[in-house]
């Protein structure tokens, strides 16, 4: 995003630590995993060359296909729930009133908790006998079987992720909304625009770059929701919530088929990279410039 025409650029040496880390912990494992995907390895002894066997097994593994589908559903659902709510709450929290500042501070609390803690808390809260569902089942007669119902489990995960990540995206929108010049709202008010119109015609267009940035984070981040799913449902009931990263983990560290798990890992890298390239392309993220007033 910074100007590319700057004359004096810092020497390559400045980038060395970052490059070294990226190479060692980013690139090297990817290369090694790609190599492992052509082997059979139980984690015991040395990997044996298996040629394309792992890759040929991928298409016939029904759980890979359903895993991709569930992963994508999760991506879409998290985006569709988090973006509008974060935008609305963020714009609300950006207001100057003191009570809003206090309430939003409380609202940011989930940001301080680790993912594992959040997952375990919600697992307990959703317990069919002692949790919230047990209460509402008594009141309404609805099923208390949330995490164990193939149709509900994914929604439960979407909800927990929403609870966990909403504050972060809200923070982004709040900060961006505060940057919108008050003069725009004043002018609109003089022209007779109501609060709803002001929101749709000023706030939302002014926040479009933030919407894109937050969406990219949600979409790419959805590839890493692994631990929430692992701890909440373990991919169950059955295979109803077995997202692709979890399938990779179970194949690698439960079934000890490291070669096959590596093939899934490479597939994940390809999907993840493809997804972020697509988003950057479509959104014009790379051509974005400053969003301060009058600049764009």
């Amino acid at each position: 995003m910074t100007s590319a025409t700057r004359v004096q650029r810092p020497g390559a040496l400045w980038a060395a630590p970052a490059l070294l880390f990226f190479g060692l912990f980013g690139l090297a494992p990817i290369v090694i995993v790609a190599g492992l995907s052509f082997t059979t390895w139980k984690g015991l002894g040395t990997p044996e060359w298996a040629g394309l066997a792992n890759w040929q097994a991928l298409p016939s593994d029904k759980l890979v296909g359903s895993g991709i589908l569930i992963t994508l559903s999760l991506t879409v659902l998290t985006w569709a729930t988090q973006t509008p709510l974060a935008l609305a709450f963020g714009a609300w929290a950006a207001g100057p009133q003191r009570v809003r500042a206090v309430v939003s501070t409380i609202f940011f609390l989930p940001l301080l908790l680790s993912t594992a803690a959040i997952a375990l808390i919600w697992q307990a809260l959703l317990d069919p006998n002692f949790g919230v569902p047990a209460q509402w089942a008594e009141l309404t007669g609805l099923s208390a079987n949330v995490l164990g119902d193939p149709d509900l489990a994914l929604w439960a995960i979407v909800f927990v992720l929403l609870w966990q990540f909403l504050p972060f995206h809200m923070l982004l929108y709040q900060a961006a909304a505060k940057q919108i010049p008050a003069s725009l709202y004043e002018a609109a008010e003089i022209d007779g625009a109501g609060p709803v119109q002001r929101f749709w015609r000023i706030t939302v267009p002014q926040l479009r770059h933030t919407i894109i940035a937050s969406s990219v984070l949600i979409l790419v981040g959805s590839m890493t929701y692994f631990e929430t799913v692992l701890l909440l449902t373990g991919g169950g009931p059955g295979t109803a919530t077995r997202i692709l990263p979890l399938h990779m983990y179970l194949k690698g560290f439960s079934a000890f088929e490291m070669g096959y798990a590596s093939a899934i890992a490479v597939l994940l890298v390809v999907i993840g990279t493809g997804l972020s390239l697509l988003v950057v392309r479509v959104s014009g993220y790379s051509q974005m410039t400053s969003e301060r007033e009058g600049a764009s």
């Binding site: 594992a116 317990d127 006998n129 079987n145 169950g236 077995r242 079934a255």
Partner: protein, 434 residues
């Protein structure tokens, strides 16, 4: 004790990541000091058992004049750690394992010392152990491990208070069990607690039902990798019985959400929301931890899995985790000393007494009198009799078959209990893993 034999997944993600990094970078991980200097023993972390083993290691190193070192790993990390370490210079001399299919993997990779000769030349040592338990470390008629802690069979727990209130007796036959299911359902009590969020608890039902329907040979054939073994009529029948139990409402409506990890399932039984609970004997320590009053008031009942009238299986046969085992690494620089350590200490009076003291039921013959003096004598004596009278002690299937097949089995079994997969489809899918 309670989860020692049951690797569960919580937290494994981090370990997996850490392991992935260390192996991926080709480094050997944190170095262990002075590799060849003494006998190194690897064991899964368990405060009380570790203490007992530590005492034995110290006693051995004193008498043999060789340094002994005990290294402990968290349960979840251990299986992955040992899998990677064996065959590398980092490997220990003596290592903890689950016997059965888990041990067979290491044996097939030629990483384990054959202990048969050592056992034969020390018959008193060999005969000290209950045969059904020792046999789990037998692979292709050779012994590769010796039991190092107590037995953990699966038994039927029940809530005595609820049984008294309803005025019924614990089931001795499967028909009685079915009648009890209907009775408790009418009372608005979940007849059987089943933490179906974890497929291995559902597996216990399949294990017992297959054993009762067709006998222990049915699973033995599966474990031996025989063709068509999964399609045995007994397996299909047992799976159908599982589905019938679900349909009958035996497990209530919410079993697929219920988990045992946070003590929730144990509390369902203790609170009287559920009447019966099929679980490993480690459930006793779960209950002592989660619901101490329930145990103290004597409301925790236990009985053997009911007999099946028209089944071929022996009603005295049991399933569960026979024990955990110590085996010797084939690449060890101290094979002789390692074997000496096992022979001198694993059945010694001190070791057995120490195990009993921490509440275990060691897999050793003739300890009735000692068990009768323990705090939970009724339960330990019951467990001991169950195991010593059992003609066969089938190891938990997920430990007995190779890990890749076990992973598929657990996933598919959950589908069977949900009604999303038929018994035939299950058998077909499992046959493909043989």
């Amino acid at each position: 004790m309670r989860r020692i034999t049951r690797p569960h997944m919580l937290g494994s993600a981090l370990v997996a990541l850490a392991l992935g990094l260390t192996t991926a970078c080709g480094t050997a991980g944190p170095g262990t000091e002075e590799d060849a200097a003494g006998v190194e023993v690897w064991v899964v972390e368990d405060a009380t058992v570790n203490q007992v083993v530590q005492t034995a290691v110290e006693a051995y190193s004193e008498s043999a004049g060789i340094e002994g070192e005990l290294v402990t790993y968290a349960n979840d990390a251990y299986k992955q750690r040992i899998q990677v370490a064996l065959g590398s210079p980092e490997a220990p001399d003596v290592f903890f394992n689950w016997g059965g299919g888990n041990l067979a993997e290491y044996v097939n990779a030629k990483q384990v010392v054959d202990l048969t000769d050592a056992l034969e030349s020390n018959p008193e040592f060999r005969d000290a152990f209950l045969p059904s338990v020792l046999d789990v470390a037998k692979i292709d008629d050779r012994y590769y491990g010796v039991p190092m802690q107590g037995v953990l069979p699966v038994v039927l727990f029940y809530n005595k208070k609820i049984f008294d209130e309803v005025g019924v007796e614990p089931p001795t036959t499967y028909d009685e069990l079915l009648k009890l299911v209907d009775t408790f359902k009418k009372e608005g009590i979940t007849p059987i607690v089943l933490p179906g969020a974890q497929a291995w608890t559902e597996l216990m039902w399949l294990e017992y039902l297959v054993d009762r329907v067709g006998g222990a040979d049915v699973f033995q054939a599966i474990a031996d990798g025989e063709e068509g073994a999964w399609k045995d009529p007994a397996v299909i029948k047992a799976l159908e019985m599982c589905q019938e139990l679900v349909e009958r409402g035996a497990f209530g409506n919410n079993f697929s959400s219920l988990t045992s990890d946070n003590g929730s399932a144990s509390t369902v039984l203790a609170s009287g929301k559920g009447a019966m609970y099929l679980m490993g004997t480690w459930e006793l320590s779960n209950q002592i931890e989660n619901n101490p009053d329930f145990v103290a008031d004597g409301h925790l009942g236990f009985t053997a899995f009911p007999a099946l009238e028209d089944g071929e299986g022996d009603p005295k046969a049991i399933v569960g985790n026979p024990s955990n085992y110590f085996s010797v690494n084939a690449d060890s620089a101290h094979i002789k000393e390692s074997i000496d350590f096992l022979v001198q200490h694993m059945a010694s009076e001190e070791y057995v007494e120490d195990l009993i003291e921490i509440g275990h039921v060691p897999a050793v013959a003739g300890i009735e009198d000692k068990l009768a003096e323990t705090e939970h004598a009724e339960f330990t004596t019951f467990t001991y009799q169950l195991v010593s009278e059992a003609p066969t002690f089938t190891q938990s299937w997920d430990q007995a078959i190779p890990p890749a097949a076990a992973e598929t089995m657990l996933t598919n079994l959950q589908m069977v209990f949900l009604g999303d997969m038929t018994p035939e489809e299950f058998a077909e899918a499992m046959e493909a893993t043989q």
